[in-house]
Symmetry: C4
Subunit: 236 residues, 4 copies
Amino acid sequence: MSSYGPQVEVAIARVRADVARLHSELVRNNLVVWTGGNVSGRVPGADLFVIKPSGVEYPDLAPENMILCDLDGTVIPGTPGSERSPSSDTAAHAYVYRNMPEVGGVVHTHSTYATAWAARGEAIPCVITAMADEFGGEIPIGPFAIIGDDSIGRGIVQTLTGHRSRAVLMQNHGPFTIGKDARDAVKAAVMVEDVARTVHLARQAGEVIPIPQDAIDSLFDRYQNVYGQAPQGVIQ
Amino acid sequence: MSSYGPQVEVAIARVRADVARLHSELVRNNLVVWTGGNVSGRVPGADLFVIKPSGVEYPDLAPENMILCDLDGTVIPGTPGSERSPSSDTAAHAYVYRNMPEVGGVVHTHSTYATAWAARGEAIPCVITAMADEFGGEIPIGPFAIIGDDSIGRGIVQTLTGHRSRAVLMQNHGPFTIGKDARDAVKAAVMVEDVARTVHLARQAGEVIPIPQDAIDSLFDRYQNVYGQAPQGVIQ
Amino acid sequence: MSSYGPQVEVAIARVRADVARLHSELVRNNLVVWTGGNVSGRVPGADLFVIKPSGVEYPDLAPENMILCDLDGTVIPGTPGSERSPSSDTAAHAYVYRNMPEVGGVVHTHSTYATAWAARGEAIPCVITAMADEFGGEIPIGPFAIIGDDSIGRGIVQTLTGHRSRAVLMQNHGPFTIGKDARDAVKAAVMVEDVARTVHLARQAGEVIPIPQDAIDSLFDRYQNVYGQAPQGVIQ
Amino acid sequence: MSSYGPQVEVAIARVRADVARLHSELVRNNLVVWTGGNVSGRVPGADLFVIKPSGVEYPDLAPENMILCDLDGTVIPGTPGSERSPSSDTAAHAYVYRNMPEVGGVVHTHSTYATAWAARGEAIPCVITAMADEFGGEIPIGPFAIIGDDSIGRGIVQTLTGHRSRAVLMQNHGPFTIGKDARDAVKAAVMVEDVARTVHLARQAGEVIPIPQDAIDSLFDRYQNVYGQAPQGVIQ
């Protein structure tokens, strides 16, 4: 069994608890069905992250069956949960953590409306103020990439690097979101589905009114710096 | 710590409890995601109102962390919850209370269908009897206005003053509703989403049949004066 | 206080309990918001029915605040709940009970998809087998009629008399359903929204395939006579 | 009362418990309303299967009122639940078990979006990777067939034999799914509704991007052999 010193072990325990609990937010917000979707969180102060096991049902997720991986996505042997396989999307999460050091959490779902935009390969235009607040503009499309090598992770990183959005819609696949920690990435996953649905419905019935770029900039700037009980900052 | 005399303190306590509890109706009716949406209530007999703190999760809302403000939207120092920031929409709520003395409650959400109409800047036409009952005609669009000064509050007041509707769809933003108290404003928020959804779906499949103006007038009049266990009256 | 003899009093108590409990099915099936919607049940062996009070919230509905009425819709004085006003749709329910002796339950909602068809004044065509089973063909539109006299009740009775459907979509208003008892009418209210939604979505994406009339007849006949644990029979 | 030896009796008890419990997944995933929908499971090591009774409400379903049938769909007399009628779809389930020995579970629902595709007689094209994973290509349409003889069962078997998909949309009727056991068939029922909804919404707003056949093949192959905690294999 590995040991990382008391401070890191405490951090691991906290991230295990957070990641396990945050999966219930995916269920509560109707972002996932069956065993789909996954949340991971980086362990602060270590080259490690915690992710959901593969194909396990939501009610069975608990801190001790979350899986600890290094930044190559290799399961750390002898740690709790290591007898199971990690999420089949682990390689994509690992790629993001290796290449975006400011990212502390990654979430993937096949949430309905976001995936519908992804199936058309169409970015979501910024036509509601909540979207300007949260994403600072459109939500971009990432490349078509299938599981099995680094192409999903690379597509996420290339699309989101230097972009205000914490969400990318991988073509024909679904949304991946990033955040300063796992909770922030889950929030982005909740919000991307919400705006995907609202803008879908808005356009269905006629033309939407664009928001001027300077208003988008001002809303994004204010939200990142003022909203909530403490400044959040932009993670990328 | 402020003291307003026993009667006002009792009123404050009651409004704190109502406002905290009414936020759960926003969740139960699927009008909000994450920490979005806010309810406020005027304190009867005082130039005060109670509003939700900013960026706090719904399960954590309780009477003692609701925030007491004066009608300029300034937090009353030393009162329970005053260590937190009030909702980022506090200035808009305050503007409404200052300028519409008959209003006792204000609600803001980004509920899906209502916001979809707002993104097109399109008023909801009155084609179902429940809408005639509740809103007395179309639900109007308010101007595009961004957070940071009085422009949201002013847009709400200018649109709703002299209008039968207790709901306005602020363009590209979402619905604000008013009521004789916080509960009445929450009811309006529930009903505006309900009619926004029904009329959206109705129009999607063909032409809707308009309701004659005299039938709308008669339904609105009857509902405001007869429905329920006691007359409600029109608040504006 | 009225007394109807022990047998009728037992029947009243049972209908009170059924009607109170069945309102929770309206909530569970997302057919109503706020205090909207109402269920009533005829008291077997008496010229009486039980209906929901007006404007009371769903969690507060209990057998003892259901309201007992005669077939003119007049509240029976001195009975439990009689201090409250009955549902504002009581006159329509009463008209149905007076004119359709085979009807034992009536339900009214503004359920979303059914009301959307009603806003266009368009009958729902029978293109799914579950609809042939349950309604034996299309679900018809009733006339535009506003509250205040017998016109809603008359519209329901004229449309459903001699029709296989237990549901009518009152134009610009919403569905009314009837049944052999209150539970059967609630089932029809659940099913009419289900088929309204499915057929709406089916047509949205292209042309639906009609079901041949002889297949509709055969499905309806079989379902009314074979399905379930005991024969149900057609109520009208 | 029949007796099949201790091993088969244990298997029967396990399938009864599974089938009863799995019906709650249909409710939780919003695949059914009222008493609609049914799950069955083959008893391993015997020519028997367990199915839901007809027209019984979901909260009343328990292991002891599930019904044991032989592969002709005849209820085994004297066994628990045998006083009730089995699901009206029992003949279709039985036909599948007789003709597809590799099938261990069958599910039927009228889930909204899947039934909407069925009403148009339109197969769901494979445009999202989750669908390639789970179904290996399009979800096919089965023939129009009404209840009363073997035509539903025959339509299911003819459509799914040699097909990668575990789901068929019976025209004007709704989805039937198969699986290696009842749980696997329920998973397919959940997933078919999920992809039916997502692809419906995707196409509503414009053209969807097809997934190349070799990518579909590679995703399907990987998912069947790698995903989850143990290999699953393709059942047909």
